[in-house]
C-alpha cells in the first residue's frame, strides 16, 4: 500500500507524459502535435515539482520560525523549463503558420502528399 501511495503522484505524472507523448506522435495535425508536446512537457514539470515536495514543508520563502521548506531547486529548474517550453511552442506555431501559407494545409498527410507530387 505504501508503494501505491508513495508513488501515486509520480504515476499520475507518468500517465500524463504518456498521453502527451501519444498525442505528439500519433496526431496528424500539426497544432495538435504542439499541444501534445506541451502536455508532455508539463507532465515532466509535474514530476520535478512532485519530487521537490517534502512532508510539512513550507513555501520556500525564508520566514521566522519555519524549519522545513519545500525543496526550491526543482522549482528553479522548472521555471527555466517552462520558459524554454513556451519558446519552443512559439517557434513551432510560427512554423505552422508558414507551413500553412506554403502548403495550404496543416495536416501531415496532405503535406507529404504535396511534396511527393513535386
Amino acid at each position: 500500500m505504501t508503494l501505491v501511495f508513495g508513488l501515486f503522484n509520480y504515476w499520475v505524472a507518468m500517465v500524463l507524459m504518456m498521453i502527451g507523448f501519444y498525442i505528439l506522435i500519433a496526431s496528424g495535425n500539426l497544432i495538435k502535435k504542439i499541444i501534445g508536446l506541451n502536455i508532455f512537457q508539463t507532465s515532466v514539470f509535474i514530476l520535478y515539482i512532485s519530487m521537490g515536495k517534502i512532508k510539512g514543508g513550507a513555501v520556500p520563502i525564508l520566514t521566522e520560525g519555519t524549519e522545513i521548506y519545500t525543496n526550491p531547486l526543482p522549482h528553479v529548474l522548472i521555471l527555466t523549463a517552462i520558459v524554454v517550453g513556451v519558446a519552443t511552442t512559439a517557434l513551432a506555431l510560427a512554423l505552422v503558420v508558414r507551413i500553412k501559407e506554403a502548403y495550404g494545409s496543416i495536416e501531415e498527410d496532405d503535406i507529404h502528399e504535396k511534396d511527393g507530387s513535386l
Binding site: 507518468m14 525564508l62 528553479v76 521555471l79 496543416i106 495536416e107
Partner: protein, 332 residues
C-alpha cells in the same frame, strides 16, 4: 482531473476546443503546483501555460483553420497506427519501471532534500540577503541557467520575427512587417472596464517584478503579466493603437536591451574582478552586491520576456490582419 483533460485532447476534433481544454489543463496544473508549495512555478505556469500559449495557439488557428481533419482511417496502415502506441507503451514501461525505486513522495529522507539544497535553505539568507530562496537560486546560484533561458526566449522572438516578421511585396523583395504601420487607420473602441483593469495589471506586474525577492514572483512572471496587459489593450483598442504605445521596432530594441542588461551585469562583474555573474563584487559588501545584481538581472529577464511576448503576439496577430486585409482586397 488532469488526466481527464489531457485525455480529452486526444478525442476532441475541434481545434478551438482542444486549445481551450489545454488552457484548462495548464490552469489545473498550476493549481497542482500551488498545492505542492511551488507558488513561483504556479504563477508562471498560470500566466504562460494558461495565458500566452493558448493566445498564440489561437492566433495560429486564426491563420490556419479550425477543424482537425477527420483522419482517413482506411488509408492508415496497421503499422502506422500501432507504431505510436508501441513507442508510447515502451516509454511508459520505462517510466513506471523507473518509479519502482524512487524515494516516496514527500519523503524527507530523499537524497534531493539532503544534498546541495540544505545550503541554499540555510545560507541563502546570509549570502544573498533575499528571503525568496527560489529567486536567489534562480538569479544567483544558478544565474547562468537563467541567462541561458533569457537567451532561449530571445531566440524564440528572433525566430518568430524571422519566420513571420516579413512580408513580401510580390516582386521578390521583402520588408519588415511593421515598418509602415503608422498609416493604418486608427480604430479605437472605448472600454471603461479595461481602462480600469489594465493599469491594475501593470501595477501588479511591477509589484511582481520588484517584490520578487520577498514573495513569489520575479522577472518572468512580471514580464508575462506585463505583456498580457498589453495584449488585452490591443484586443480592446485594436492593434494599431497598441502599436502606437509600444511600437514593434521599440520592442525589438527592448528584446536586445533586456538580454544585454542580464549579460552586461555579468560582464560588469568580470570587469570588477569577479567571476562571470559574481554579483558580490558589485558593491563593497558582497551581500549588498548580490542584491543589486539580482535586481538587475531580474529586470533584464522581465524586459526580455515582456518584449518578446508582445513581439510574439504582435507578429502573429499582425500577420492575421494582413491576411484578412489581403482577402478583402481580393474580394472588392
Amino acid at each position: 482531473m488532469l488526466v481527464a483533460t489531457a485525455l480529452s485532447c486526444i478525442f476532441v476534433r475541434d481545434l478551438f476546443a482542444v486549445i481551450m481544454v489545454f488552457g484548462l489543463y495548464s490552469l489545473l496544473s498550476a493549481g497542482f503546483f500551488l498545492s505542492l508549495k511551488a507558488p513561483d512555478v504556479a504563477l508562471t505556469e498560470a500566466s504562460i501555460g494558461a495565458g500566452i500559449a493558448p493566445i498564440l495557439m489561437l492566433g495560429t488557428l486564426a491563420l490556419t483553420r479550425k477543424r482537425s481533419e477527420p483522419q482517413p482511417r482506411a488509408k492508415k496502415s496497421l503499422r502506422s497506427a500501432l507504431l505510436p502506441l508501441v513507442v508510447v507503451s515502451l516509454t511508459g514501461v520505462a517510466l513506471i519501471y523507473a518509479t519502482l525505486d524512487m524515494p516516496y513522495f514527500a519523503d524527507p529522507a530523499a537524497p534531493i532534500h539532503n544534498h546541495v539544497v540544505p545550503r541554499y535553505i540555510e545560507q541563502s539568507g546570509q549570502e544573498t540577503g533575499i528571503p525568496n530562496i527560489v529567486t536567489s537560486i534562480l538569479a544567483s546560484y544558478r544565474g547562468y541557467d537563467t541567462l541561458g533561458e533569457a537567451f532561449v526566449i530571445f531566440a524564440a522572438g528572433l525566430g518568430v520575427l524571422a519566420l513571420l516578421g516579413f512580408l513580401s511585396d510580390g516582386s521578390g523583395r521583402e520588408y519588415w512587417q511593421f515598418e509602415d504601420t503608422a498609416n493604418l487607420r486608427h480604430h479605437a473602441v472605448l472600454h471603461v472596464i479595461s481602462k480600469i483593469l489594465i493599469p491594475l495589471i501593470l501595477l501588479y506586474a511591477l509589484y511582481v517584478q520588484f517584490h520578487g525577492e520577498y514573495s513569489p514572483g520575479g522577472g518572468f512572471q512580471a514580464g508575462v503579466i506585463f505583456a498580457v496587459a498589453f495584449i488585452l489593450y490591443a484586443l480592446v483598442y485594436g492593434l494599431e493603437a497598441a502599436y502606437k504605445i509600444m511600437s514593434p521596432v521599440v520592442l525589438r530594441y527592448m528584446m536586445v536591451i533586456g538580454v544585454l542588461i542580464y549579460g552586461g551585469t555579468g560582464v560588469l562583474c568580470l570587469i570588477l574582478g569577479g567571476h562571470y555573474l559574481e554579483y558580490g563584487v558589485l558593491s563593497d559588501y558582497p551581500k549588498h552586491g548580490q542584491h543589486i545584481g539580482i535586481i538587475l538581472v531580474e529586470l533584464g529577464v522581465g524586459v526580455t520576456v515582456a518584449s518578446v511576448m508582445m513581439t510574439l503576439f504582435f507578429t502573429f496577430s499582425g500577420r492575421a490582419k494582413r491576411s484578412v486585409l489581403k482577402k478583402q482586397g481580393v474580394e472588392t
